[in-house]
Amino acid sequence: MNRQHPHKHISLQPSYILHTRPYRDSSLLLEIFCRDHGRIGLVARGARSSKPRFAGLLQPFIPILLSWHGQGELATLRSAEPGGPAPLLAGDRLYSAFYLNELLLRLLQRADPHTRLFDAYITVLSALAESKKEEESLRHFEQVLLQEIGYGLILDHDVETGEAIDTRLQYTYILDRGPVLWQKNTQQGIIIQGKTLQAIAANHYPDSETRRQAKHLMRSALAVHLGGRPLKSRELYRKQRFL
């Protein structure tokens, strides 16, 4: 269903730029993520001319208020205004921010609203800028993203027995089903502690072991939907270790 109504005028919509690329002689094609309409494609006419319109605002990771009008797949940007203080992302935190945008571009359909995910995005950007609770916010963002695309993780019960997760026990998470109690001969799935499942649900990680396991589970769960094509932003971390 196309929820981007034809001929609609949208005004001052809280948004972020996910990606831009040159379009025709002096324009930019924008992929944006906005509060009420999710991921939208826009044309910013004159954004690359010698006297560029929307100067300096069409950059990723800056909160902006966008107004546009138009129909179909690509609407036309009418105005861009600053939407609040810009988080300062430095160093490795920039790679993480690119990772968020790459996930959104790869996994969201256009014109599906995802307001919870939008909130999680704002939270994780400010966590990255302030270097506070970065991992928690990243895991929370990934978890909400999975829920929003219809593949939320099951964290509260064993899918085989229906029993509540016991934080003292060990489970295997089978990606297309959920957690089942770990058994010696289990071949498939990801081994995970009950306390990690609870930590993800509560978004509170008591130790490095639960952090590590949660990260591994998220990576594996997302990989299913990324279809074998690796994320470029994640390669940056990996390569940086071998400079």
Partner: protein
Amino acid sequence: MTTALIGQLIEALRCLPGVGPKSAQRMAYHLLERDRPGARQLAAILSESAEKVGHCKRCRTLSEKELCDICASQKRNPQLLCVVESPIDVQAILQATDYQGLFFVLMGHISPLDGIGPEDIGLDELAKRLDEGEVNEVILATNPTVEGEATAHYIAEMVNRRKIKATRIAHGVPMGGELEFVNSSTLSHAFSGRQAL
């Protein structure tokens, strides 16, 4: 009237940045009506440049010689290496500053969402250059965009790991500008980069 050949000329001129159909048409008619010698010279130089200009083997900038004039110069300080995204940035720095060191031109920047990684911007060559041991400061002058920042950070790690000093050009409020009209991310960077007086 527009013949097939003139039409092709107009279309060809549109490969220039910022040149739309109207300006391309104006350029084509100007060259043909008023400046045939200019048109011939442009054609000759253009085809010679396209044929002969390659990349300097040391700094990767555009050059028809194996070593560009800057890299070949004995007068510049080989201990300073300034890393920029494009050859036009080299010109901008030469014209605006009294920088006396050498350059390394990435011919782009890291942009994960466009699929451009470190291997696409000549960083192996840069690593070799650093390992020669002559450079003692790398000045990172990539653009103040998120891609430029990510690129600068990546290279800074490379440089620091070799116990070489990495510096980043300052960015902030443009001279002659007014704070009111500066965009929020520029102002935010300018604030975090403030200096004691």
